[in-house]
Subunit: 196 residues, 2 copies
DNA sequence: GACATTTTGTACTAATCAGTCTACAATTAC
DNA sequence: GTAATTGTAGACTGATTAGTACAAAATGTC
């Protein structure tokens, strides 16, 4: 039974949000013009402004969706293959993406953190909180992997997680800056050594 | 004795290029509008287009200047304090910049690599070449430090340099994404361990 | 001093940007 | 069926973008 009055929406809000998220992920915030986003989302400008506040608010909601999606993905993966393999899947996934598509999108939150740094303070705060949360999730994964004996390094989980994520982020920018395969292969090895 | 005919330039080409480089370094390529650049350079639009080809060409020349300046700085530093200390000065300098100004500009070449990735192929190529060269310089520093006994790690210099620069780049994006002091302190420790 | 040459200041152009306005279409409530 | 309500299409706005056109200014040569 219908409860809303007036002409019904011709699109699903969640679906177009996911389309916007993917467009932002591939092109970055500033580089995604509203017209391009609308084309990607398959809706018209008037519908957009009727449903969303503005471009910045849309982006903020995309960041939120990204964080939640990523968290759900990693929790599921951990349950399937265990905490250490889930962590390694981060870097393995990135390298597979590079092999298959010839490029990598990186992490939307990290990309946005760099792009919004000293420019959009409201977004920067949201990004900082999101990344901090994901780092804490990684820390719990490391801790669990240590308890299971998958990681024998006795350093604090927080340290190990921080270094792993840091090296992972370094690998992303290194690849995007045009590193050769030899460099990438060694970074991959380094990442896996950090979780030994 | 003057050799050129016509009205003389009212500015020094090298000086305004350096001013443009610093503006690009602080604001990024896309985020630097020509008007902002002209204000920073202290010249008018007509003078700009008379001297430089266009914005992209200006940026390309700024990248070239950046690479040369950085190389000269590191060679000088190495002669003063030795290869290992010169390498460590990379990360120490970044952390000092953060303490003093509350933010960091990062490496212009890396920043530009990420910004131009899949967008400006001509610039991407130049950036890739420049970064590869700087990595090779670091590799020679590591090798020299190993020969002097400053670095006892017996891994190949190429590996050590790659991992150090990678962790360094990771630290830059991590800071810019809003990491807390505890995380930064441990990354600093990790960086120095990589050169032990 | 006249003239060729080069630089400079200012006004302009055409494209693109995020966002708004308005007329109309599609629905529910009564 | 009519009114109230909500969504949609497309034209419009004003700001900003990189880049151009042209006349005036400043120099060297003769």
């Amino acid at each position: 039974m219908r409860t809303t009055v007036g002409r019904p929406k011709s699109f699903d809000e969640g679906e177009v949000l996911a389309l916007a998220m993917n467009y932002f992920w591939e092109h970055g915030y500033e580089n995604s013009s509203l017209d391009d986003l609308l084309t990607a989302m398959g809706i018209k400008k008037s519908s957009f402004y009727h449903t969303f506040k503005n471009k910045e608010d849309l982006f903020s909601r995309c960041l939120e969706l990204y964080g939640k999606t990523l968290l759900h993905y990693f929790e599921t993966l951990k349950n399937e293959v265990g905490p250490k393999a889930a962590l390694l899947a981060l870097s393995e996934g990135m390298i597979n993406e590079l092999k298959e598509t010839g490029k990598i999108k990186g992490c939307l939150l990290m990309n946005s953190g760099k792009e919004c740094y000293n420019r959009h303070s409201a977004l920067s705060h949201q990004i900082g909180v999101g990344l901090q949360f994901l780092l804490e999730v990684c820390e719990t994964f490391v801790k669990e992997a240590q308890e299971r004996g998958e990681i024998s390094n006795l350093k604090e989980a927080k340290q190990i997680a921080g270094r792993y994520i840091n090296a992972f982020n370094g690998m992303i920018v290194t690849i995007q800056a045009g590193a050769n395969q030899e460099v990438i292969n060694d970074l991959r090895e380094h990442l896996s050594e950090l979780l030994e």
